[in-house]
């Protein structure tokens, strides 16, 4: 993609096959420039989620390579990569495991050995931004879906990643919480890559779009205006 000098993500001819043998996606090559906001659009089972996991360096592609700021993720550089990358999973229940919301927020900073003051400051800041004061000492699994999502995103953003990956950030979240999450993501100033099957979310948050086909390949990519092409979206099984 044109318009940016530095590539945050570069993928060459990647494919992914699940351990049980089913194909995640295949033959994907793409470049995402620093600061770009990209929506990956596709029907259920089109490989969006596995593409996101591979691009973020969590899953190793079966063919080809992924580079994050020029570095190919491997066992040795895991610290470098994880400091640049934040991943928000679709189901917060997969993601949240600490006894309280406060512990969730502190989880990454503690690993990064921030000082106590720095951690306190960050927890305060992010619980203000995400409006988590009242639930700070509650166990995450007792929260509502929208609250869980906010906690999840806050726990990722607190570590200040340069690239934020989000898998269906607004799935199963309604009304007010959804608007709040969209607002917060809009304020993020870094590279943003998200998957969604909600076109509205993609249009509001992203400048570019990648459309995945039912045979798990890239069908089209370009500016977000791509999503106005109803014929294309019908072929992709989104509409």
């Amino acid at each position: 993609m044109i318009g940016s000098t530095i590539n945050a993500i570069e993928a060459e001819n990647i494919s992914y096959i699940y351990p049980d043998g089913t194909t995640g996606f295949r033959d994907v090559s793409l470049k995402i420039g620093e600061g770009e906001r990209v929506a990956i659009i596709g029907a259920n089972g089109s490989g969006k989620s596995s593409l996101l996991m591979v691009l973020s360096g969590l899953l190793k592609p079966k063919t080809g390579y992924v580079r994050i700021y020029g570095i190919e993720p491997n066992k040795k550089n895991v610290e470098t990569i994880r400091r640049m990358v934040g991943v928000v999973f679709q189901d917060p229940d997969d993601f949240l495991f600490n006894p309280t919301v406060r512990d969730e927020l502190m989880y990454a900073p503690l690993q990064l050995s921030w000082s106590t003051e720095e951690i306190e400051k960050a927890v305060k800041e992010y619980s203000e931004i995400f409006n988590l004061h009242e639930i700070l000492h509650k166990p995450p699994f007792r929260l509502s879906g929208g609250e869980k999502k906010k906690v999840e995103i806050a726990s990722v953003m607190i570590a200040k990643p340069k690239i934020l990956f989000l898998d269906e950030p607004t799935a199963n979240i309604d009304g007010k919480a959804k608007r709040k999450i969209m607002e917060l993501l809009n304020d993020f100033n870094g590279t943003l890559v998200l998957t969604s099957h909600e076109l509205e979310v993609a249009r509001k948050l992203c400048g570019k779009a990648i459309v995945m086909s039912m045979d798990r390949k890239i069908m089209a990519e370009g500016d977000i205006g791509l999503l106005d092409d109803e014929g294309l979206l019908e072929d992709a099984g989104v509409l």
């Binding site: 049980d20 895991v78 610290e79 997969d94």
Partner: protein, 216 residues
Amino acid sequence: MIDARIKLLGTFLLIVLAVSTFDPMKVGVIFVSSLILAAFSRIGIKKVLKRIWLFTLFSFIIVLPLTLSFRVEDLLYVLLFTLRVATSLIAIQVLILSTPFNDIVYAMRGLKFPKGFVSTLWLAYRYIILMFTELMRVMLARESRRMTKGSHMDLWRKGGESLGLFFIRTFERAERVQLAMRARGEKVVAIKGSFTRLDKIYILFMAAVTLWWMAI
């Protein structure tokens, strides 16, 4: 398709015959019979061998040091031991490759295995893939939050915590499934009824193999 009840019993019989003797001829008879079954079951010998060679080699290597005695009977033992293992593996692979697991479950019910056991077995089998993908998501999410390399000990402990989360979710899912089962009911079909001609040929084959095994 051969009745899964007979196949289950036939496979068991073949393996019993194979592992109850060290007579080269007898083991050889069962080995050849298993290969014949593989060839006639549309699976093909090649596919079966591809699945068994690694474990056969493993078993061979385990007993290989016994040949250091340089005695003929020890060498013979090592070869026969490996052949017995290989024969049993072929027999079970033929069963597995030619019989969907639900048929095996129905066959068990047909063979009067306890109902609670069979229906729970069927349920467990159906949920394996789902539970595995769920486990992978939990582990992957946890991995995404790892900022430092950490020691082995760290990995085991944190991995264990992820498993803890996974098991909590397992219990919660079980509660939902139990409710759904109560709402919908569940029944495991049992294979019943008479044998087809193919079944009878299979039984005849097994009887012939057994007689041959006993005769030599």
